[in-house]
């Protein structure tokens, strides 16, 4: 599973999953902090739809952490102030880079979590569809 998909599942889903996976790694391997969780900014670049040019809408507060595991560096970044989550994401990222055997076993858990996220999102959307207008044309 690529990093984009993995980080989306871990951040949008139940954060217990990231905690569980990171705990598995830290209990068995030596994980060193390179950058302890810290707050910083990400500048958001957008494309406007009038002339399709680029501009900056503003900055977003993020928490970032970096760890080293088996000479591989893992990075965790998450919107908001979430120090534990940032470190857990960094540990998981390092585990994938180091190709730890544990990562093979995570695939199923991640896929199940992805299904749950999709189900929850589609439920949320269906509920929002209740506010969709059903126009009736009047005879004048």
């Amino acid at each position: 599973m690529n990093r984009r998909r993995r980080t989306k599942i871990l951040i949008d889903g139940d954060w217990c999953l990231a905690k569980g996976m990171a705990d598995e790694v830290t209990q068995r391997y030596n994980c060193q902090n390179i950058i302890a969780p810290r707050q910083g900014l990400t500048m958001v670049r957008m494309r406007e739809s009038a002339k399709k040019s680029l501009f900056y809408i503003g900055e977003v507060l993020v928490t970032e952490a970096k760890v080293e595991l088996n000479q591989c560096i893992g990075i965790g970044i998450v919107v908001g102030i979430h120090e534990e989550m940032a470190r857990q994401l960094a540990v998981i990222d390092a585990a994938y880079k180091a190709e730890l055997p544990e990562t093979k076993k995570w695939e199923d858990r991640l896929l199940k979590a992805e299904q749950l996220i999709k189900k929850e999102k589609s439920k949320q959307q269906t509920e929002l569809f209740e506010t969709t207008v059903n126009f009736e044309t009047m005879d004048v």
Binding site: N2, R3, R4, T7, K8, I11, D12, Q39, G40, L41, T42, M43, V44, R45, M46, R47, E48, S49, A50, K51, K52, S53, L54, F55, Y56, I57, G58, E59, V60, L61, V62, E64, I75, I77, V78, V79, G80, I81, K118, K121, S122, K123, Q125, T126, E127, L128, F129, E130, T131, T132, V133, F135
Partner: protein
Amino acid sequence: MGYVAVKGGTKAIEASKKRLKYERLKDGEIIEIKTILSSMKALVDQVMSEASFYSPFLAALAIKQAEGSMEEAVFLMRAHRSTLPRLYYSQTVETESMFVKRRISASFKDIPGGQMLGATYDYTHRLLDFELAKENTVDNHQWLQAYKQELQDVSREDDIQYFPKVVDYLREEGLFEEYEDDNTSPMDITKESIQFPTPRSARLQTLTRGQTGAVTSLGYASLRGYGQVHPTVGEVRVGDLPIYVDHPTENNENAEDNDFYIGEITVSEVESFVPVSIKNDRHDEELEFEIGYGVCYGQNETKAIAMSILDQCLEHPEFDFPTHSEEFVLLHIDSVESTGFISHLKLPHYVTFQSKLDSIRQVKKGATSNES
């Protein structure tokens, strides 16, 4: 009388700060950050937008610290933002990827995907609800349970829908000009001072972080005749946008495989359709539509619509109208700059004022001696 340069006041300032804290605490009530976050979303959104700094938690903290003063809260957020390192730039965010929570059009009744009202005050009676004065958590819980029960019966869709833009259909019909993606690096007004004429990226960045009231007032002024733009809103959408950043060191040839998803932000986006007269090849006047663009953090549709008007105004400079002057608009809509400059007037100006008084006294004295 000579100049009256003074120093001192340290004790009074300390006492004033204590008084400020006393005024905030004296009634013995504490408002929790979580209460602000869940019950004052519009205020939180406005602070984030004007601060150009997305963090609901910090915005709520700023509102608490500023006791609800918008200008103070925005100032606090801007000041805090300046203490943080900029770690990343996001990949380009395209609003087609928005998880839409509200989407309407004033131009077309039938838009693909339908008009979804979402949560809005637009159709509420503007009458004070005195029931809220005696609201309690038990009743609220019961209401929530009943509402969730009602939604249980709603038939479920399996796939999540992402909505195309209304304007894309009109472009397909050839009614609006098509543009290729313009990937010119945007200017960042937090790194470079704006110079006139400004690039479009600087205008949009300045407008999106403008003070809501100022942006709205100038947009309104344009509608009332102090400008030449009166649009029809093509689409308003509010929803969540996913943010991705590239890996800082890895080869990003397969960016989509290697990038990081870091979370979502909520934005309001508006495309306004503005009729303009152009001359065709035969030099006849012809009507065409252009698009004014507005977007801002959080749900703040009025600001986004006003921004779309001003965007279009500034695309067409007109000497006769202040709302079409980028210098007039862009240099006066920033919350920290305008409130800061106005409020500095109350700070000591003893030396400069005494100097002016001296000048007037000299003039008066001169006039009197001339008369005699």
